[in-house]
C-alpha cells in the first residue's frame, strides 16, 4: 500500500520547466530517497506535495484520497531553507508551530515536553531562539517537523548544515519514527549520504524521473557480475573466456587488488575456485554499484535518445 502516489506531475515557471511527467509511488513505512543533482526539480516536487505551490497538471493521492488541505496535518516538512523566529522563546515557538499543524494546546505542550526529555534539552523552554547555537536550532526545527506525529515526514536536504552528532541523532530518531509507522521521504543531491538509509529510491534529473523503485531491485539490475579480489602474488587466468580481468592495482610489493568480471554465466563460486588454485586470496567481495554510479550510467544511457 502506498501512502503517496503522484501521477504525471507537470510544473513550469516562466523561464524554465521544473517538472515533467513525474509519477512516483511511495510505499507506506518506507524510507524513500528522492535523489538528483541540484536544480533537478526535487524541491519543486516537495513543495507541490506540501501544497505550498500547485502543479500545472497531474494528480496526487495521499492514502488513496486526493491530496487536499485536510492532509496538511498528516505531513511534516523540514525545508531545505529553514529558520525560526529569532525573538521567540523555544517553548512558545514550538507550541505555535504545533498549533498551526492542528494540535490543540494541551497535547502540543505534553508532546514538546516529552521531546525535550528525549533530546536532553529539558531546560530550554524559556530560552530565546536567537541565543541558541546553530546545532541547537536544528534540534528545535526537527522537533517542529515531527511533533504532530505525521504519517509522512518530508526532509529536504536534512543534513546540510547539521553537525555529525546531530546527523546521527536524527538518523536514530528517523528509524524510531519509521518503527512507529511513519513514512519518510528524503531529498538530497548528495546521494551517497542517504543511500544506506533508503529502501526505495527515485532518481530525478532535469525535471524527469529517470529511475524509480526498491533500492535492492535497482542495484540488482545494475549489478555487472563484477567482483573485487585482494590477493598475494600476481596471476593470469587460464580460461579468459570465462573470467575477464577488468583492472589490476598493485597495493604493496607483492599484494594486488583485481576487479574481475564473470562471463558466460559462470558462478562466483567457480571464480573463487579458480582463484584459489592461482593465488592466495585475502578478500572476495561483489562490486555493487553506488547510486551515484548508477545515476551516471543512467544519464549516459539516456544521452543518445
Amino acid at each position: 500500500m502506498n501512502i503517496l502516489t503522484t501521477h504525471s506531475i507537470y510544473k513550469s515557471y516562466s523561464n524554465h520547466i521544473a517538472l515533467q511527467d513525474i509519477s512516483l509511488s511511495v510505499p507506506r513505512q518506507s524510507i524513500f530517497g528522492l535523489l538528483g543533482p541540484n536544480g533537478a526539480g526535487k524541491t519543486t516536487l516537495i513543495r507541490i506535495i506540501n501544497q505550498i505551490i500547485a502543479a500545472d497538471k497531474g494528480e496526487i493521492y495521499f492514502n488513496g484520497e486526493k491530496l487536499g488541505s485536510r492532509h496538511i496535518e498528516n505531513i511534516g516538512y523540514l525545508p531545505e531553507e529553514r529558520g525560526l523566529y529569532r525573538k521567540m522563546k523555544v517553548g512558545e515557538h514550538l507550541l505555535y508551530l504545533a498549533q498551526l499543524k492542528g494540535l490543540n494546546k494541551r497535547d502540543a505542550y505534553e508532546k514538546i515536553k516529552s521531546w525535550f526529555t528525549k533530546l536532553e534539552i529539558k531546560g530550554w523552554w524559556n530560552k530565546k531562539i536567537e541565543d541558541l547555537s546553530k546545532g541547537m536550532q536544528q534540534k528545535i526545527q526537527f522537533i517542529a517537523t515531527v511533533l504532530h506525529e505525521p504519517a509522512l515526514i518530508i526532509l529536504d536536504e536534512p543534513f546540510s548544515g547539521f553537525d555529525p552528532v546531530n546527523v546521527q541523532l536524527i538518523i536514530d530518531r528517523i528509524h524510531e519514527l519509521r518503527e512507529k509507522g511513519s513514512t519518510i521521504i528524503f531529498s538530497t543531491h548528495r546521494m551517497e549520504s542517504v543511500e544506506e538509509l533508503c529502501d526505495y529510491i527515485a532518481l530525478i534529473n532535469k525535471s524527469r524521473t529517470i529511475l524509480e523503485g526498491a533500492k535492492k531491485d535497482i542495484k540488482a539490475t545494475y549489478k555487472s557480475n563484477t567482483f573485487i579480489v585482494e590477493h598475494k602474488h600476481d596471476f593470469r587466468f587460464a580460461n579468459p573466456e570465462s573470467f575477464a580481468l577488468v583492472e589490476k592495482e598493485r597495493l604493496d610489493d607483492n599484494y594486488f587488488r583485481s576487479t574481475i568480471r564473470i562471463l558466460n554465466g559462470e558462478s562466483p563460486n567457480k571464480l573463487l575456485q579458480s582463484l584459489i588454485d592461482l593465488t592466495e586470496v585475502h578478500s572476495f567481495t561483489e562490486k555493487i554499484p553506488s547510486m551515484h554510479e548508477i545515476f551516471i550510467a543512467k544519464v549516459k544511457e539516456e544521452i543518445p535518445s
Partner: protein
C-alpha cells in the same frame, strides 16, 4: 480560520511585548498633551520671576511713567553716559535701559545693557512699555485720550456659525483646522509606521527562512492577512492607549488650572497672574470649540479611515516585503506606495483653504489619498453622500490591492536571491499558480 487567528495572536503578542511599543505608548500621549499644555505652561513660566530694570532716562520723558508688567519692574536712576558699562557690571538688578536725550519725534532707539543676553520676551516687554508711553505722549500732544482712540478703531471679529439639520453650532476655523490636521497626520503616520512594520515582518520571515515552514501549514494568503490584521490590532491598541492617556493628562492639567483659580479667587489670581487666568479661560474656550465639532462623525470616520487606509496600504507593504531580501531592496518598490501618501499630506494646506473645492473633493474620494485628506475635511462638515462614496471606494480598492498583493506575496516569499524588478513583479501578478 483558526490558523489565521493563531497567526494574528502571535503577531499581536510579539509586537505588544516589545520594549519599543511600551516606550512609544508612554511617549506619544506626553507629546500630544504637551502640544495642548505647553503654550499655557510657557505663558505661566515667567510669572513668578520678576525682573527689575533700571531706567536711565536722559530725555526725561519716561520717568515714573513706564507701565510695569507682571514680569518687569522699573526703577529710575541717573547714570553718566560714560559709566553705563561699569554701572551695569556692578548693579544687582537685571539690567539698565538707557534712553538717549532726544525729542519725542526723534527717538528711534533705546539701548538695554545687561550682563546676559535678554530673551525675546524681555525685549518685547520693554519695547511695548516704551512705545506705549511714547504713544501716550503723542496722543496727549494731539489732544486725544486713549479711550477716544480705542473707539476709533474698528473692532469686529468673525464668528462662523455652521447651520445643520440638528441646529446651529458656532464653529472656529482654527479649531477645525487643528482637528483636521491631527486626524490627517495621525492616519498618515500610522499607515507609514505600521505598514513598515508589516513589511519588515515579511522580510524577517523571508530572510529567517521560517516562511516555508509556516506555509506548509497555512496558505500564504492566510499568513499575509494574519500579519496585516495582527499589526492593525497593535496600531489600534496603541491608538486607544494614546487617546486614553492623552485625555487623562489633559484632564489632569485642566483640573489643575481651574482648581487653582477656584481656591485663590478670581480677582486675586488675575492680580497675581493674569496669564494663568487667561490660560484657564483659553482652555475653556478650546474645549467648547472642540465640542462644537461633529465629534461623533469624526471619531467613527477616523477609526474607519484609520483601518481602511492601513489595510489598503498594509497588504501592499507586505507584497513589497515579499519581493525583497533586505530592507534596502525595498526602496525601488516603495516609491509608488509613498507618492500618493506624500501627495495627500502636501496638499493638506490647499485643502484647508478650500475644504469644499475640487482638489479637496477629488483627493478625498480617490482611495489612495482619501484616508488622509478626508480627515482634514471632516471638521468642516462634508456632505454625507461624499463620505459614503469615499468609504465605499476605499473598501473596494482595499479588496483589489489585497488580492493583488496576495498574488505577488505567495511567489515572492519563496523566491530567494532572485533579482526582482517591476517586470518580474508583473509576471508574478499574472501567473496562475
Amino acid at each position: 480560520m483558526n490558523k489565521v487567528i493563531l497567526i494574528i495572536k502571535r503577531e499581536f503578542i510579539t509586537r505588544v511585548r516589545k520594549k519599543s511599543f511600551i516606550i512609544m505608548t508612554i511617549l506619544g500621549p506626553l507629546l500630544f498633551a504637551g502640544v495642548f499644555i505647553l503654550p499655557v505652561w510657557l505663558a505661566m513660566r515667567d510669572s513668578g520671576n520678576i525682573r527689575t530694570i533700571e531706567v536711565d532716562d536722559d530725555s526725561g520723558l519716561f520717568v515714573n511713567k513706564l507701565e510695569e508688567t507682571s514680569n518687569l519692574r522699573f526703577i529710575y536712576v541717573n547714570v553718566e553716559d560714560d559709566k553705563l558699562f561699569e554701572h551695569t557690571m556692578q548693579t544687582n538688578n537685571y539690567g539698565v535701559l538707557h534712553i538717549p536725550n532726544a525729542e519725542i519725534d526723534d527717538l528711534r532707539q533705546v539701548v538695554f545693557y545687561a550682563k546676559s543676553n535678554p530673551g525675546m520676551e524681555v525685549k518685547d516687554d520693554i519695547r511695548r512699555a516704551v512705545n506705549k508711553e511714547l504713544e501716550n505722549i503723542k496722543l496727549n500732544r494731539s489732544g486725544l485720550s486713549r479711550d477716544e482712540v480705542n473707539q476709533l478703531k474698528g473692532n469686529v471679529s468673525v464668528s462662523a456659525t455652521v447651520v445643520t439639520e440638528t441646529g446651529e453650532k458656532s464653529g472656529s476655523a482654527e479649531i477645525a483646522t487643528a482637528m483636521g490636521y491631527i486626524g490627517a497626520l495621525l492616519i498618515y503616520f500610522f499607515i507609514f509606521l505600521f505598514g513598515a512594520q508589516v513589511m519588515r515582518g515579511v522580510i524577517e520571515e523571508k530572510t529567517n527562512r521560517i516562511v516555508e515552514i509556516i506555509v506548509s501549514s497555512v496558505r500564504p494568503f492566510q499568513l499575509m492577512m494574519g500579519k496585516v490584521v495582527g499589526v492593525a490590532l497593535v496600531g489600534l491598541t496603541q491608538f486607544i492607549l494614546w487617546m486614553a492617556l492623552t485625555v487623562g493628562i489633559v484632564q489632569f492639567a485642566k483640573n489643575y488650572f481651574t482648581v487653582d483659580q477656584f481656591e485663590q479667587g478670581k480677582e486675586q489670581i488675575e492680580a497675581v497672574s493674569p496669564q494663568r487666568a487667561e490660560a484657564a479661560q483659553n482652555f475653556e474656550f478650546i474645549f467648547e470649540q472642540v465640542n462644537s465639532l461633529p465629534l461623533g462623525t469624526i471619531f467613527v470616520a477616523f477609526i474607519f479611515y484609520f483601518l481602511g487606509g492601513y489595510f489598503l496600504y498594509g497588504a501592499l507593504f507586505a507584497a513589497v516585503g515579499s519581493a525583497a531580501d533586505s530592507d534596502t531592496d525595498t526602496q525601488q518598490f516603495m516609491l509608488p506606495i509613498t507618492i500618493p501618501l506624500i501627495v495627500s499630506v502636501v496638499t493638506l494646506s490647499a485643502v484647508i483653504n478650500e475644504p469644499e473645492g475640487p482638489l479637496a473633493f477629488w483627493l478625498s474620494i480617490i482611495p489612495l489619498t482619501s484616508p488622509v485628506v478626508m480627515m482634514m475635511r471632516l471638521p468642516f462638515i462634508v456632505p454625507t453622500w461624499q463620505l459614503i462614496l469615499s468609504m465605499a471606494l476605499l473598501v473596494l480598492c482595499f479588496f483589489f490591492t489585497t488580492w493583488m498583493a496576495g498574488k505577488i506575496y505567495r511567489i515572492g516569499i519563496l523566491a530567494h536571491g532572485a533579482k526582482v524588478n517591476y517586470r518580474v513583479l508583473w509576471k508574478w501578478l499574472v501567473s496562475k499558480n
